[in-house]
């Protein structure tokens, strides 16, 4: 494999502090809080799965929070966001209602998808989240279609498609890139390149670790950035999204990141991860988006040493009570299996 990402794929070679001078304190605190909240939510779900309280598989986004948090800052509720199997952060970054997520992964009727979807099928149209589904790359053309709808209706809205480095190996992604470009559609493709597809390292799957080579091939403007740097993601996505809204067609943002958990559930997957070593996981965890931002903010005297611990404690308390509430919520009624197969709209 050609290492076209160079330092971006090497946690030890990347800077240990972020450039935050262009950001105000309020913004930085806001994104830090949101990332911490998403992390704690994912950890709660990991524990719930480990303890057998969650019946189905969960693909956790711990370590990747900065991407959705940075991108979502520039979206509004009439945009259209599509996710995949690892989409808890994508949704929470738009609507941080962890109670509804807990309820959903527990299969409760109070969940985002009324308990019919579980972790892998999430929906919250009120916050622009059009749906996430786990067939790899399955929602990529759907996002292109949402972009087509916006274009046909002369709207300034955009569609966002979150996909990973594994999805790029599916043919439909290349069809979708080409179609979006040829039709000049308002779509932002956000590549979360965490270097792994399930257990397989990208070096065992592709000829280069740089996914945006396919943007080049399709004449789609793109940026490749540190996916753990929420400020860089915020800046890059703002520029790309503004340009898309101006009618400049599809854009691609490639964010290099790393997932803390294995492919699915709460385990590390070091045992099954091909080329996923304890050493590498440790190095990436030491440079995760929350640590990076809080270290920088302490260094800039925006927050003090205790700030992170205090907000963690505060958020944890709320998360615990949301979890308990979700545990006590009702399941869908036993006779509802056929209720939603076909639309109930008149």
């Amino acid at each position: 494999m050609k290492d076209d990402l160079k330092n971006l794929a090497s946690p030890l070679k990347l800077p240990q502090y972020l450039k935050v001078d262009s950001c105000d304190e309020k913004f930085l605190k806001e994104v830090l809080n949101l990332m911490v909240s998403i992390r704690l939510t994912e950890e709660k779900i990991a524990n719930g799965r480990r303890d057998g309280l969650i019946g189905g598989p969960v693909h956790l986004g711990a370590g990747q929070e900065a991407i959705a948090v940075g991108v979502s800052k520039h979206l509004n509720k009439d945009d259209a966001v599509f996710g995949a199997h690892r989409s808890h952060p994508h949704l929470l970054a738009l609507n941080n209602n962890y109670h509804k997520l807990f309820a959903e992964v527990l299969g409760k009727e109070t969940g985002f998808s009324r308990g019919m979807g579980g972790s892998m099928h999430l929906f919250d149209r009120s916050s622009a989240f059009c749906g996430s589904t786990p067939i790899v790359a399955g929602t990529v053309p759907l996002a292109v279609g949402a972009g087509l709808a916006f274009k046909l209706n002369n709207k300034r809205n955009i569609a966002v498609s979150y996909l990973g480095d594994g999805a790029i190996e599916e043919g439909v992604v290349h069809e979708s890139f080409n179609l979006a470009r040829v039709m000049n559609l308002p779509v932002l493709f956000v590549i979360e390149n965490n270097l792994f597809s399930s257990h397989m390292h990208i070096s065992l799957r592709q000829s280069s670790n740089k996914i945006s080579r396919f943007a080049e091939a399709n004449d789609i403007p793109y940026s490749v950035i540190d996916g753990n740097d929420v400020v860089a993601i915020n800046d890059s996505s703002r520029k790309l999204i503004e340009s898309i809204r101006e009618g400049d067609g599809p854009m691609l943002l490639e964010c290099i990141t790393y997932r803390h958990y294995g492919h699915v559930d709460w385990k590390d997957d070091i045992d099954v991860g091909v080329e996923r070593s304890e050493e590498e996981v440790k190095n990436w965890k030491a440079r995760d988006p929350i640590i990076l931002l809080s270290k920088t903010m302490i260094n800039k005297r925006i927050i003090d040493e205790n700030y992170l611990a205090i907000i963690k404690q505060k958020i944890s308390k709320k998360i615990e009570s949301a979890w308990d509430l979700a545990l006590s919520d009702n399941f869908p009624s036993k006779d509802s299996t056929l209720d939603f197969v076909y639309s109930r709209q008149p």
Partner: protein
Amino acid sequence: MKNRYTYGEAIRAGFEYLLDNYPDVFVIGQGLWSPWYVGNSMTDLDKIYGTERIIDTPVSESACTGAAVGASIVGMRPIVVHPRMDFMLYAMDAIVNQAAKWSQMFGGQSSAPVTIRGIINRGGEQGAQHSQALHTWFAHIPGLKVVMPSTVRDARDLLISSVLSNDPVIFIDDRWLYEQEDELETVKELDLNKQKPEIQHSGTDITIISLGFASKLARDSIQELLNEGISAEVIDIRVLNPLDIAILVDSVKKTKNLLVIDPATKFCGYASEIISGIVEKIEPNDLISRPVRLALPDAPVPCSSILEAEYYFDKTDIINTVKVILKK
């Protein structure tokens, strides 16, 4: 006011009605800016409604179908056209995993009201990959509606109903039906949920249930059967899924003989579903003969004209099968 249409023209009239009355409707598929692939069913729509709404595409069935599904999720009513149904297989994820399940996965909060038109384009030595009739595959999938018009009227009106339905619909037409002619009234919108199998000829001796092209052959057989002293009740399925089976059951209870004709391969086919669905709802002695399936051989469609002619059944095959069932 009545106008005379062929089946192909009736489909085109359905498109015109939808494009005239519903700004959310657009059409996407290969060949739409030069629609010689699809007979006379889409002629000049691009010129009348513009190439923004009538979209010819790259050779990307998967992305284009997926894009239509995505557009439907955010409020449009797209129609995807696959001029040869065989190529539609590239789009199975968008159809089966995404569109079909979109309502159920999210507890009914969203749906994918897309219409996917697949054309069965058999005959003319086109062979294995240009001739398939795959309606049963789609009818097997909960969440999809499957529509197969066999008459000129249904070609227009069920296309309109399909597009106005809030669910994903697979609309399948067959090029062997295109030359039929009929006079049609002005459009009255029909709720797809209320469309049922239709008794197209009442009879007392045998129930013939069929779909798509086979329904035309069944209708064509009625007179000759009468000449042989056989009164056939001919029922066209029209909507394969969801299926209202009551009409079929009642007819079989009346005639006590059953032939089901499916213009597709036999094994695990739609005729099997019809027979078992009926048999579950009648008494053991309601039938006086064994129910019979007439379908295509379980082989890919051959090219050679000699083999192709052998492969497909025709009106004579239907008449002979009925005579065997009734021991006439």
